[in-house]
């Protein structure tokens, strides 16, 4: 009886051990991807900051606020751009952002632009109106692919199919903390931003209005690109943390099982000895 029990424990130790190898490997992969993704965010930042500043300056020139992109209109339909990962096993990463978008969609007439396999599956299952879906873009994303997404959003807004566009992404706070966040893309709100320095007399070609309107698609594309890049960093960080604790838990389990195994083995030996001694005594 004790022999069978020992075999069971041995088998479990082996199985937990191989799981540990997988989680450990995933943790290492996530760490190296995290490093690369962080560099990409760093490279992207100067572009976005300068673009935002320029937009704010141009907006200052057009004080009449007559651009179609800044004018507020009655919200009849909302576009949610939801960015999740392509794979699971990243702790609460996918669930958190989807929950956040879900909570916001209450009471709104929502359409969805799903980015990442997990987001696509989630909205397909719930039969949401999906205007577009993109999978497998996070890792090897280039700006030209995002251009398509940006143009789609702008086209929907211009044609009046949507009255606002909100992007849901996961902000990277620190390697241990990621925060589901949202950002309203359209209508644009830039008036709160004060341009740096003195206002200089600047020539706009052909007009501030035209420059502003033609910059909006670039700005939207840039923002969506930034949100995807940042979400990808968060995904890797979340996966690394999740896999790290999975590896730790598995190690703890192996330790516990090893203790059980040793006890069972000791028990078997003791029992055998008792049996031998009892046998010898009986022979007298």
């Amino acid at each position: 009886m004790a022999g069978a029990n020992m075999k069971d424990i041995k088998r479990r130790i082996k199985s937990v051990g191989s799981t540990t190898q997988i989680t450990n490997a995933m943790q290492l992969v996530a760490s190296s991807k995290l490093r690369k993704a962080k560099e990409r965010v760093e490279r992207y930042r100067p572009f976005f900051e300068k673009l935002y500043q320029t937009m704010a300056e141009v907006a200052q020139e057009n004080t009449d606020g007559m651009s179609v992109y800044t004018r507020r209109r009655k919200i009849k339909a909302t576009l949610q751009i939801v960015i999740a990962g392509d794979r699971g096993l990243a702790g609460g990463y996918n669930a958190n952002i989807l929950k956040r978008a879900q909570a916001d969609s209450e009471g709104r007439n929502v359409r969805v632009l799903a980015i990442g396999k997990k987001a696509v599956e989630y909205y397909q299952k719930r039969a949401y109106p999906i205007v577009a879906q993109y999978q497998g873009v996070g890792e090897e994303l280039s700006i030209s692919e995002t251009t398509e997404i940006g143009e789609k959003i702008v086209a929907l807004y211009r044609s009046g199919e949507i009255d606002e566009a909100i992007v849901y992404y996961t902000g990277f706070v620190s390697p241990l903390q990621q925060e589901p966040s949202s950002l309203t893309l359209l209508p644009l709100d830039l008036l709160g931003v004060k341009p740096q320095g003195r206002r200089t007399l600047t020539e706009y070609d052909p007009s501030p209005q035209a420059v502003f309107d033609s910059l909006v698609p670039t700005f939207i594309t840039g923002t969506v690109y930034g949100a995807i890049v940042e979400s990808f960093v968060s995904e890797q960080a979340a996966r690394r943390t999740a896999m790290e604790s999975a590896t730790d838990n598995a190690q703890e389990m192996i330790d516990g099982l090893q203790l059980q195994f040793n006890r069972a083995r000791q028990g078997a030996i003791t029992q055998e000895l008792t049996e031998i001694v009892a046998g010898a005594q009986a022979l007298g």
């Binding site: 490279r43 992207y44 100067p46 572009f47 976005f48 300068k50 673009l51 320029t54 300056e57 141009v58 700006i143 030209s144 251009t147 398509e148 143009e151 789609k152 086209a155 044609s159 200089t200 007399l201 600047t202 020539e203 706009y204 070609d205 052909p206 501030p208 035209a210 420059v211 033609s214 910059l215 698609p217 670039t218 594309t221 840039g222 690109y225 930034g226």
Partner: protein
């Protein structure tokens, strides 16, 4: 000849930075040339060529969408995409051209058509610059 400071920034990082003599870039209203001492000027970029004249020669890149901003201190080009002529992925541009042409044939008009057309223009721009330089 006097020079001025130019920086070209894309979402993939700083593309070019340094003292240049002249820069010519395609804006929405046509090619614009900037030399040292230009007045403050802002224009939206179109799809076309970026030519940078340095002390040592001329460098050419394909540029699409963004903004050109000239101020007293420096000139900044924020481009959505920008590639040196010799670094253009010709294969990829050819594939994009092919796909856009196919789409244009099936679509008749409307937003999708406009987007396919833009795609075709970007692909053709890359190809023509890669071939000429």
């Amino acid at each position: 000849m006097s020079t001025f400071f130019l920086s070209v920034v894309t979402p993939d990082g700083i593309f070019f930075e340094g003292q240049v003599r002249r820069v010519v870039v395609r804006t929405r209203t046509g090619d614009v040339g900037i030399m040292a001492g230009h007045i403050s000027y802002v224009a939206a970029l179109g799809i076309g060529k970026l030519r940078i004249t340095l002390d040592g020669g001329v460098r050419v890149a394909a540029v699409a969408d963004g903004v050109l901003k000239v101020s007293k201190e420096k000139t900044v080009i924020l481009a959505q995409t920008c590639e040196w002529a010799d670094e253009i992925d010709v294969e990829r541009a050819r594939r994009a051209e092919e796909m856009a042409r196919q789409r244009l044939q099936t679509l008749q008009s409307g937003k999708e058509f406009e987007r396919a057309e833009l795609k075709l223009r970007r692909a053709l721009n890359r190809l023509s610059i890669a071939e000429k330089e």
